[in-house]
């Protein structure tokens, strides 16, 4: 059985912003619904609030599936640490640029292409589990943890 993006899903151009510590990251896509195996063409805008340098700026896709404990367990769980039922897969990234210097107040634009993997894991929600896809903009800096801006997208087998 295949998943089809429904009519009521958001249509048209997609634009969303995410605040990182030193910059605001905006992702622009032609739409927010894609099919498995499709190549997404989009633009990442970075608006720094302070000057900083990143070693690598990249985009990847993350798939997150989650079993809903209340739906499957007869006895309720007491805390989130009592249950492990999620499946997270990060797919190989596309590197937008290496060694980027961001200067406070100056916006930079990075066009990109990213191919959604052809795996049988469409976005879906059932009584027992839900599966979501995210496009992530990752800024990598030496000796510091990566900073990630995540944007939820919908991935179906076919678009209307």
């Amino acid at each position: 059985m295949l998943a089809k993006a429904k009519e009521e899903r958001p249509r048209g151009a997609f634009e969303a912003s995410y605040d990182l510590v030193k910059a605001e990251v905006t992702l622009k896509l032609p739409r927010c619904v894609f099919s498995l195996g499709e190549t997404i063409e989009g633009v990442v805008l970075v608006k720094p609030s302070k000057s900083f340098r990143v070693d690598e700026l990249k985009v990847d896709a993350l798939h997150h599936a989650e079993i809903i404990p209340e739906a499957i367990l007869k006895q309720p769980i007491l805390s989130f640490t009592d249950f492990r039922g999620s499946d997270v897969t990060a797919f190989p990234p596309t590197i937008l640029e290496r060694g980027v210097e961001f200067i406070e107040g100056i916006e930079s634009e990075f066009p990109f292409r990213y191919k959604i993997p052809s795996v049988q894991r469409p976005s879906c929600k059932t009584k027992y589990y839900k599966a979501n896809w995210f496009l992530r903009v990752i800024s990598k800096r030496k000796h510091r943890p990566d900073e990630k801006a995540s944007f939820r997208i919908v991935v179906a087998n076919e678009l209307n």
């Binding site: 059985m1 295949l2 049988q120 894991r121 879906c124 027992y128």
Partner: protein, 151 residues
């Protein structure tokens, strides 16, 4: 000794994959070496999801011997279960008989609009299958199961 009939059921569908709201057109061919009667002939559309997870379980003091050093009676244990997400039955025929010349039926069943997609990840495996079922009185049903995979 009396032997029952040797029955062969072929089930064929019109497409490789379907979307919610589609109609599955099915062809059922029943061949037998001996005439037999049945109570019901039906088509079943089933969606099952195999899920596995880990949950913290507390062991009772009475369930095993516990030493003083062994204080932690809680541990994460793996569990799994198959949940049936969709089960649709389409009645095709009531009481009838299959003769030596066999039986051929064309029928259809509609996929619900809210049908979950086929899905496969490490913890969740959701599959769809179609079954042609010949229900016989006081005997085991004759079932032909068809599963379409798409990756």
């Amino acid at each position: 000794m009396i032997f029952g009939p040797k029955v062969k059921v072929d089930l064929d569908i019109d497409k490789e994959s379907y979307f919610p709201g589609d109609e599955i057109k099915a062809r059922i061919q029943v061949d037998t070496n001996k005439r037999f009667s049945f109570n019901e002939l039906r088509l079943e559309l089933v969606c099952e999801s195999f899920m596995k997870w880990e949950v913290k379980r507390e062991f009772s003091l009475y369930s095993r011997s516990v030493t003083e050093e062994e204080e932690d009676l809680e541990e994460m244990v793996s569990e799994s279960f198959i949940f049936r997400l969709v089960e649709l039955k389409r009645f095709i025929m009531g009481k009838g008989e299959v003769t030596d010349s066999g039986l051929f039926i064309e029928t259809s069943i509609e996929v619900p609009e809210d049908a979950p997609p086929t899905y496969k990840s490490g913890m969740i495996n959701t599959r769809w299958f179609l079954k042609a079922v010949i229900g016989r009185r006081m005997r085991r049903d004759i079932v032909r199961k068809l599963e379409r995979r798409r990756s």
